[in-house]
Subunit: 303 residues, 2 copies
């Protein structure tokens, strides 16, 4: 016999992560199955992951799934994901996985924040948002205990806030977005090709390279402006910073704290806590699992 558990699936751009988790957040098992993005190979990997956990742990109480793109309002599919993972748009995962209970589907960044707000960096916090600093900048927000979804499931695209309204347009048209200022995809342009990626830039900063330091300080200042803007819009208790660039550790978090000292609105002295993400690559799978768990609880909130 195995403990009652839920399966959380996080379908990424190049691998499927799956976790089997109990209702109190104990991880029983996790898997990472890479795929090449062609002929819906990813769908087979998802089925394989579920089958493998099922064989090992028995029938799950429920399954949740997250993937890139905008989730449909009924949470049965990803409604909008142009350009990659061909075949994902409109795919009904409850049917595909032959599940006897509905398989709720979430946007991947939404799922990651649900995970962090469940058993990670903002466990139990009712007001929080997360910025994920990587190739691009992703995000999600929970306000008054509820994950923001919005009309099209687009809410929480925190990388696409403008911090330079006269700046160049990013992938979705936002002028001078925080993604353009700190995302790895623009790094080579920002440093005129001197560094291959943000890790190399950060290493140069840490070794005392002044030019690297100027580039980095500009990025951190842009990030601080976005964070303080989002604090004024969303009023969190905790802000989570995740993604590969957050591994810069104090080289990121120290100047960010210094700049927020200058620009953060702190009514009555209240200061927002800025913390690193805790769940790493498994955040989305945890979030998908807890989304399934909550679907089966008597409704106490809309998360």
């Amino acid at each position: 016999m195995h403990a009652q558990h839920h399966i959380g699936i996080d379908l990424g751009g190049s691998s499927v992560k799956a976790s089997a988790v109990t209702r109190d957040g104990t991880l029983l098992e996790s898997l990472n199955l890479p795929f090449v993005d062609r002929d819906m190979e990813w769908a087979l990997r998802v089925e394989e992951a579920v089958e493998s956990l099922r064989t090992k742990l028995g029938e799950p109480s429920g399954i949740g799934l997250s993937a890139p793109g905008l989730a449909a309002a009924d949470e049965r599919s990803i409604a909008f994901m142009p350009g990659r993972l061909d075949g994902l748009e409109g795919l009904d995962w409850t049917r595909r996985l032959g599940s006897s209970t509905p398989v709720p589907v979430l946007n991947d960044a939404h799922a990651a924040l649900l995970g962090e707000a469940w058993i990670g960096a903002a466990a139990g916090v009712a007001n929080t948002f997360m910025l994920t600093l990587g190739t691009g900048v992703g995000g999600a927000a929970i306000v008054d205990g509820r994950l923001l979804k919005g009309r099209l499931g687009r809410a929480g695209h925190l990388g696409h806030v403008s911090v330079d309204f006269l700046g160049p347009l990013d992938d979705v048209g936002t002028p001078g977005s925080v993604e353009s200022e700190i995302g790895n995809k623009t790094l080579r342009k920002r440093c005129s090709g001197r560094h291959a990626n943000t890790h190399a830039l950060v290493a140069a900063v840490e070794s005392g390279d002044l030019e690297a330091r100027q580039i980095w300080e500009r990025s951190v200042r842009a990030l601080s402006a976005a964070v303080t803007s989002l604090i004024n819009v969303l009023d969190p208790e905790v802000v989570i910073i995740g993604g590969g660039i957050a591994r810069a550790g104090k080289t990121l978090f120290e100047p960010l704290a210094t700049e927020l000292e200058r620009v953060e609105w702190r009514p009555g002295g209240h200061q927002v806590r800025i913390v690193p993400a805790q769940l790493g690559d498994l955040a989305g799978a945890y979030g998908s699992a807890v989304n399934s768990i909550r679907r089966q609880l008597p409704a106490v909130d809309g998360r």
Copy 2:
């Protein structure tokens, strides 16, 4: 006999607006009582307004109130409002007005949006936000059918988003905020004293003044960047633009639409509607009234 009604009070900076409204949004009566901000004269005006409506229309089914500042989480008072309306912080309005039912208290911008989303520019819309362009820039947001409040009741301070991260700090510390770029409080500085206020600037634009036009275009471009950022964060169906500056009409809304054509992310062709506020000065009083009405309904949502 009079119809069952609720009283909505909007305590402003220099006058108290009050409305008596039925549950379906019919206005029975409204009042506007000016005051000078000293010795809590405003509290007497609020009592007068309630008393006057009570004498005319009989006992209300409930009373709601809005005022500047951050509302307490229990909605019994304004918890934070430094610098003016001395005596407002912590004042329990249920007790002060001797009401037999709780008098829910809201931030004024929150109340105005509730009003507009009830019977105004976004009636019946579940995802919307409002920017109020005046001396400063205020705002509020409803996402997934719920008014965003946040940890301190600060959510929706949409004027304090940075659109120029290297810019000067505004009243709450935000660098290069949209309030700094379009709020009337910075107009004289932005036009080197050539125009007394934004109405004069807009009049100059309309009469073909090229210098005025450049200043205005910059403001509208900053506003567009903020609007598109907030669309990406909050994912509305409708964006409401209100406040005195919105009376510029097509001189504001036409270049705003043109710029959004360029910068708005429109997944699957979905375009957000940008509309002028409809309720004018009474929005906050309507919103306070509907907040009282909803408090007495069986809970169907958290608004």
